[in-house]
């Protein structure tokens, strides 16, 4: 903002002042802070402050439209006595564990395929990446329809291929099937990110290493195990960390597909926090549920910072 005012104030008449201001602005100790101030204000007022407020809310008995006072850790303790929360806690780990593991395996597999000589390379990449750029809430609506209890195209195809017994499962109405469906959609949306990032890691591996391994008599499996995988591990670690936090905190897929049901069997922290905090109005408890995402965030940030520091600084 300082830049704008400086210009307006000095344009036509006073070149002397303008020069002085210009010189002053040229100093890194002045210009640097001036450049980061807008971003800093944003982070302080709309990220740090809400975070402090989240902690306050979680320690209070806040209810929408009512004054609140502090009640200590009671929200956190009460949560453990609720079946819905215990179920959610378990769901979060099952969901994240399965989704990330499947994405890693399929991601490596897909990246290896994309790294081969292919016809229509650009077109194939474009198709693979598509699920990642389309609004998740909207594409999940498509999946919701595909898993519909009466008209499921998944079941229709499965039955006609002889893989499922008619009438096929009620995907979103049965406990384990619902979790499988939610994981499947998460994998569908997250796989492109894994594949494309791992592909970038694969491309960076020097060809000479493969040739050397080849002359030493290593077969394709040995080459993958002893050359590709070790050299890919930094990229893999970053992708997994990244994906862990965003899978753990997922909201859109569960909200659109199952609303946390049947009987809380697919609720994640974010969806339960919304239900408790907004739909039933218990803001304090809702904030406490959201904060369960924080330890995971801290672990991921810590690990990422160590990686990034080692690589970039």
């Amino acid at each position: 903002m300082a830049i704008g005012t400086a210009r307006v104030a000095t344009t036509p008449y006073r070149p002397g002042l303008r020069d002085r201001l210009g010189e002053w602005l040229d100093r890194e100790t002045i210009l640097g802070p001036a450049f980061v101030t807008p971003a800093l204000l944003l982070l302080v007022f709309l990220v740090a402050y809400p975070f402090v407020m989240a902690i306050y809310l979680s320690l209070s008995n806040a209810f929408i439209g009512r004054p609140s006072h502090l009640i200590g850790l009671r929200n956190f303790i009460n949560l453990w006595q609720s079946d819905a929360f215990r179920q959610t806690f378990q769901n979060a780990f099952v969901f994240t564990g399965f989704a990330v593991a499947i994405k890693v395996v399929l991601g490596i597999w897909l990246a290896l395929l994309l790294n081969e000589q292919l016809w229509f390379k650009r077109l194939i990449r474009g198709a693979v990446l598509l699920p990642w750029v389309i609004p998740t809430a909207l594409s999940t609506l498509g999946w919701w329809w595909m898993f519909n209890s009466l008209y499921s195209v998944v079941n229709w195809t499965g039955i006609h291929m002889g893989l499922l017994d008619p009438p096929g499962p009620n995907w979103l109405g049965q406990k384990y099937y619902a979790m499988a469906a939610v994981v499947a959609v998460n994998v569908w949306r997250g796989l492109p990110f894994f594949a494309i990032t791992i592909l970038a890691g694969l491309v960076a591996i020097p060809k000479e290493l493969y040739e050397a391994a080849h002359t030493d008599g290593a077969g394709p499996v040995a080459r993958f195990w002893y050359v590709t995988l070790p050299l890919l591990s930094p990229v893999l670690a970053i992708v997994v960390l990244f994906s862990t936090i965003f899978t753990f905190s997922d909201f859109n897929i569960v909200f659109v597909l199952t609303h946390g049901g049947p009987i809380n069997s697919t609720h994640l922290f974010a969806t339960l926090a919304r239900q408790v905090g907004l739909e039933t109005g218990r803001l304090g408890e809702g904030a406490a549920i959201s904060l369960y995402l924080f330890p995971v965030l801290v672990m991921v940030v810590y690990a990422q910072l160590r990686f990034v520091r080692n690589r970039a600084y």
Binding site: G22, E28, L31, G32, F35, V36, P38, A39, L42, L43, V47, P50, M53, A54, L57, L110, L118, R122, I124, G126, A127, V128, L129, L130, P131, W132, V133, I134, P135, A137, L138, S139, L141, G142, W143, W145, N148, Y151, V153, W188, L191, I196, T197, A200, F242, I245, S249, F251, V256, A270, A273, R274, G277, L278, G286, S290, L293, V301, Q304, V308
Partner: protein, 279 residues
């Protein structure tokens, strides 16, 4: 006989087919459903993979003229464009400072940006809803213009910082030796070189805010203020009767702006995706 190389190549393509079907089938099925007549759509003996009884634009017509879909799209466009431009300006300045200058606190600021970049929106939506109330922006699309930069600015800053670091310092120093000020050097020399980075950041910021869901769902609710994703998922579903044709038409049309950008700028998406995570 096919040569060995050709056989291998064909095998690779064959192995890609399941992945391509997995990636694309939902879009195919969505589009197909949106074009089917209700008669065929709700006929349980019909083949769901094809349109046999002729396509119809009836669902699109209803969506455009009998629901507020156009208003939602306008809201989405307004919010997305404003949030993207604001974030790009703030992010560019911050990224340049982080990449090039040394001053008090620059290290911790960089860490702060990175940490915020990893904060999921679902962690802070409850307290942010309170902040939005206090700002007097409850149930207004402007609440989204104000809050979207909280995830867009860290993203843009992080991405652009990587790009600015690749611009050689000497180019800039030459300009400054010739009498340009720091700001002139930034605007005339560094930014033009970093245009691919700026395009990339703009594209991703546009995509992220167009696709944002939880803030839009929480901070806005009336039909005049909500965005396309929220409109389609909440207003088109009334009670227990779903209008699947219309719903799928909404999902398809709501994705169109992103698909258009995507088709034209595919390479930027690929490079930005890897830069965002790996750099």
């Amino acid at each position: 006989m096919l040569s060995r190389a050709l056989t291998k190549k064909l095998a690779m393509h064959a192995m890609l087919v399941p992945f391509l079907i997995f990636a694309l089938f939902p879009f195919y099925h969505m589009t197909l459903t949106s074009l089917k007549q209700n008669r065929e759509l709700y006929d349980r003996s019909a083949v769901p993979l094809l349109i046999r009884q002729g396509p119809t634009l009836e669902h699109y017509q209803k969506l455009l003229f009998e629901s507020s879909f156009l208003t939602w799209t306008k809201n989405s466009l307004l919010v997305t464009m404003l949030a993207t431009s604001v974030s790009l300006v703030i992010g560019t300045a911050a990224a340049y400072a982080l990449a090039r200058m040394k001053f008090f606190g620059v290290g911790s600021f960089g860490t702060g940006i990175f940490v915020t970049y990893l904060v999921p929106t679902s962690l802070l939506f409850l307290p942010l809803a309170q902040v939005v109330n206090w700002l007097g922006l409850a149930d207004s699309k402007w609440s989204l213009v104000v809050t979207y930069p909280t995830f867009l600015v860290p993203f843009c800053t992080w991405l652009l910082m990587g790009y600015f670091r690749t611009v050689p310092k000497e180019v800039e120093e030459c300009a400054m030796v010739d009498g340009a000020t720091r700001i002139q050097a930034l605007i005339r020399i560094v930014l033009p070189i970093a245009i691919p980075g700026l395009v990339c950041a703009a594209l991703f910021a546009f995509t992220l805010s167009w696709n944002e869901f939880i803030y839009a769902l929480t901070f806005t609710s009336s039909s005049e203020e909500i965005t396309a994703s929220v409109g389609v998922t909440s207003e088109l579903i009334r009670g227990d009767i779903y209008f699947w044709g219309q719903l799928m038409a909404g999902a398809v049309l709501g994705s169109v702006p992103i698909v258009i950008l995507y088709v034209f700028f595919l390479d930027y998406y690929v490079s930005g995706l890897t830069a965002g995570a790996v750099k």
